[in-house]
Symmetry: C2
Subunit: 137 residues, 2 copies
DNA sequence: TATCTATGTTGACACATGTCGAAGTGGGGG
DNA sequence: CCCCCACTTCGACATGTGTCAACATAGATA
C-alpha cells in the first residue's frame, strides 16, 4: 500500500515495529496538556480561544480533513506521503497541508529513509473531542 | 444577566420555561444524522470532507469559538446577543459570526420578543466529538 | 403612528489562505 | 560521482474571510 516504483523490496510500512511505535509518540512534545476544558463548562478566554481555534481551523479545510482521516485510518496508524495521491490537489499542496496539520499539533512526522511518515497526535485530538462535550473516555 | 436598559421588568431569560425548553430543540431539523464515522475508521470521501470541514471551520475562528463557548456554557443553555459584549469585536461582527455558526448547524436561534436567543445543536456537536475518536457516549 | 432599542444586512476594504509550477533538499542506487 | 526519486520550500496568483461603519428590519412602548 504505497505505490512507489522505486526500491521494490524493503517494505516501508513494515518498519513500524512495536519499539518504533512506543517511542514514536512524543506527540506535540512541548505541550502535554493541549488545551482547555469542555466548551460547555465556562466561556473560553481570548488566549484559550486563539490556541484552540487554530486546531479546529486545521481541520476546517476539506483537503486537510481528508488527509487527516487518511492518516488516522491508515494501517499501522501512519501513512507516508506516497500513500496519498487521489486527494485532488497537487503534491506540493498535499505537503503544504500536511505541514499545517503538523504545525497545529494534530500530526507528527518522521523521516525513515526515503519516505516521510505521518501519524496522528492522539492526546491533542482527544482533547478536541473532550472540548466538544464528549466527557467519557 | 443581560445589560438591557430597555423594558426594565419582564426578565428575558426567565422566559425559558420547561415547555419552551422542550420545544426549542428541533436542532438542525433537516439533518438528523449530521455526518460521518470516526475519522479513524476509514478515509473520508470528498463530499463528506466538504460537509464536515465546514463544521470544523466554523469553530476555527477565535471569536466564533468564544461565542460558541459562551452560548454553550451560559445558564439555561442559551444566550441572547445582549449577553455578549466583551468579545472584542463590534456588534455587527458578532452577528456575522453567529450567523456563520448557525449556518454550520452548530447553533440555533429563536426570537422571543425583542431578543434573539442562541443555543447549541447538541447532536451536531456530539457528532463532531465522535469523529475525533471519542467513541464512548 | 412615531420612536426607541435590539439585531441583522450591505458594501467596502485589508488581509489570510489555497493552489500551482518551478526550484531546492535529502537520501538511496548504480 | 552522478542520477533518480520522495518530499519540501518558494514565488505568484486568485479567491476567501474578518472587520467595520452605515443602513435596514423587527418588536415594544407610548
Amino acid at each position: 500500500m504505497c505505490q512507489h516504483r522505486y526500491m521494490s523490496n524493503a517494505a516501508p510500512n513494515a518498519l513500524s515495529d512495536p519499539a518504533t511505535d512506543a517511542t514514536a509518540l512524543p506527540l506535540i512534545g512541548a505541550e502535554a496538556e493541549p488545551c482547555c476544558p469542555p466548551l460547555t463548562e465556562r466561556p473560553l478566554t481570548a488566549e484559550e480561544a486563539v490556541r484552540t481555534a487554530a486546531m479546529f481551523k486545521a481541520l476546517g479545510d476539506p483537503v486537510r480533513l481528508r488527509l487527516f482521516s487518511l492518516v488516522a485510518s491508515h494501517e499501522g496508524g501512519e501513512a507516508c506521503v506516497c500513500d496519498i495521491s487521489d486527494v485532488g490537489v497537487s503534491q506540493p499542496t498535499v505537503s503544504h497541508h500536511l505541514k499545517k496539520l503538523k504545525d497545529a499539533g494534530l500530526l507528527t512526522s518522521e523521516r525513515r529513509g526515503t519516505w516521510v511518515y505521518y501519524r496522528v497526535a492522539p492526546t491533542v485530538v482527544a482533547a478536541m473531542g473532550k472540548m466538544l462535550g464528549q466527557h467519557a473516555v
